[in-house]
Symmetry: C2
Subunit: 307 residues, 2 copies
């Protein structure tokens, strides 16, 4: 666990059975495929994993099952940030005990406009209560969804107090100037900045960040992995342009998570993958057909998914 994860991490989508329980087998299979096709790690239980639609117990069971199925805990950075302090502590302690490389931590996101002191106290309480020197926290900044962000000044305060535990950030602000400011402010202190979308991967690496944790890696890990591998090469720009094209198609869909699942369902020839938990809604057959036509028209593939 002393080795920090870098590169491309997927917030793995969570498959559900007909009764909407998490499907452990399909989940483990997809995790293995991702690690074998370009992902350096797996940020299971992110926004695109519908993690916030799962209970604490469901998340713990699914994570334990994944490790038991042979996916190395050292490649895992599960999301653990909940609205309730006690839930975040429970999930974080569980992940550390399993030997996970780190945890991805949303701020408590129900109450809006809370003072920075309250956010500081939230993260500090979790770190203190977990009380394990193996803990590595990646702050999760995603104001478009959580509405509660990680102020830049808060990062510094947390680094001052917990330089070892506070390991980095996933910046899903969608605002490159923000990501750059975070890198400039904290990368020199060993704080690892991951872009929240592959469209910022090359820029992030050039500026001093360490990779990306991105929804697109669920379906395009090979493409995104190649950008990471060759980012100093002359072909970096064209590789980046190619993954931007795929992302653009996915993002233009009515909803990203159902679109990712529909893509996997199509290329794995496994319609079970389409299922989402409420409040999300599956793509219609027509929407799925349109998405697949666009992707295949652009030459997109998911090699080895059906093996």
């Amino acid at each position: 666990m002393s080795e920090r994860l870098r590169g491309v991490l997927a917030p793995v989508v969570t498959p559900f059975r007909r009764d909407l329980t998490p499907d452990r087998e399909r989940f483990a299979r997809h995790c293995r495929w991702l690690l074998g096709h370009g992902c350096d790690g797996l940020a299971v239980f992110g926004t695109n994993s519908e993690a916030n639609s799962l209970s604490v117990g469901e998340r713990k069971e699914l994570l334990s099952a994944l490790v038991a199925a042979g996916v190395p805990a050292g490649r895992l950075v599960p999301g653990t940030g909940c609205c309730a302090l006690t839930d975040t502590v429970e999930l974080t302690a569980h992940a550390v005990k399993l030997g996970c490389a780190g945890v991805l931590m949303l701020p408590p996101f129900y109450y809006k406009g809370v003072p920075e002191d309250g956010l500081y106290r939230s993260f500090a309480e979790v770190i203190e209560r977990v009380g394990d020197e193996r803990l590595r926290v990646y702050l999760y900044h995603i104001p478009p969804v959580s509405q509660v962000g990680i102020p830049i000044g808060l990062i510094g305060r947390l680094l001052d107090a917990y330089p070892k535990a506070v390991a980095g950030i996933k910046d899903s602000s969608g605002d490159w100037s923000h990501t750059r400011r975070v890198i400039e402010a904290y990368a020199a202190r060993g704080f690892d900045v991951f872009a929240g979308s592959e469209v910022f991967l090359l820029q992030t690496l050039r500026a001093g960040g360490v990779g990306c944790i991105t929804a697109g890696a669920n379906v395009n890990p090979h493409g995104i992995g190649r950008v990471y591998e060759r980012w100093r090469s002359p072909e970096a720009e064209s590789l980046q342009a190619s993954i931007d094209g795929v992302r653009k198609i996915l993002q233009a869909q009515v909803s990203m998570i159902p679109a990712l699942k529909a893509t996997i369902a199509h290329f794995a020839r496994d319609p079970e993958w389409r299922r989402v938990r409420p409040p999300l809604v599956e793509l219609t057959d027509e929407q799925q057909a349109g998405l697949i036509a666009e992707l295949t028209g652009a030459g997109f593939e998911m090699p080895g998914l059906r093996d």
Copy 2:
């Protein structure tokens, strides 16, 4: 449970011990005081209860303890709506089993901009899974905090499908024209509309609503209860003006929940009451002194709180 609650309900603030665990004794004591001083019911585990900062287990234990302490379940409408379907089902089933008058249900609030179909499916799944004809659901519309609201059309769809289970709404939009539209559209179908703030109480009752579920009732249940009792009397307007004045003072504070707790702490001479869970922050001594000076200057009291 066939009797529907009406009138003034308090979303009871949750006291915490030094270690931030919920304080059952102080909680039960405050609940009893509220029921004895103007409240018709208690919407425990609302927004002002910091319910979203509590785990599912903490909420179940605290509710069971409250009923065990003698607070009648028939007066309780606990909040049960979480981000995760399975959590909402668990809390709702628990409340129904205890004999609660109803439940106050937030929509799943992590994912933003979800389709109405997804919200419909969320509520429908909970009602189907709980599968108990005693269930009474009060929809919780509070877009300023949850960011995910209850569209007016969704209410009609849910009433069509579950006319008995879907009992009413707490409208905390802060927008009177919205509350009026909901009353006009659905009150005739036996759908009970509660204003989300006492400032709309008289208007709500005159328009055909049934009461209010309001933070202010934590400290001013007698004043708000009097408006409800005498809303058809000539003094209704002046009673309403008086509770508006107290609300205005509370709402002008830096943060409503710490202000309510500071008010109770002062009038109960019990500083333990000030404590909040992160991400909230207590009022400073100076802020508290300013608040109390304003309240006492306006002649505000909490009679019987110290008995």
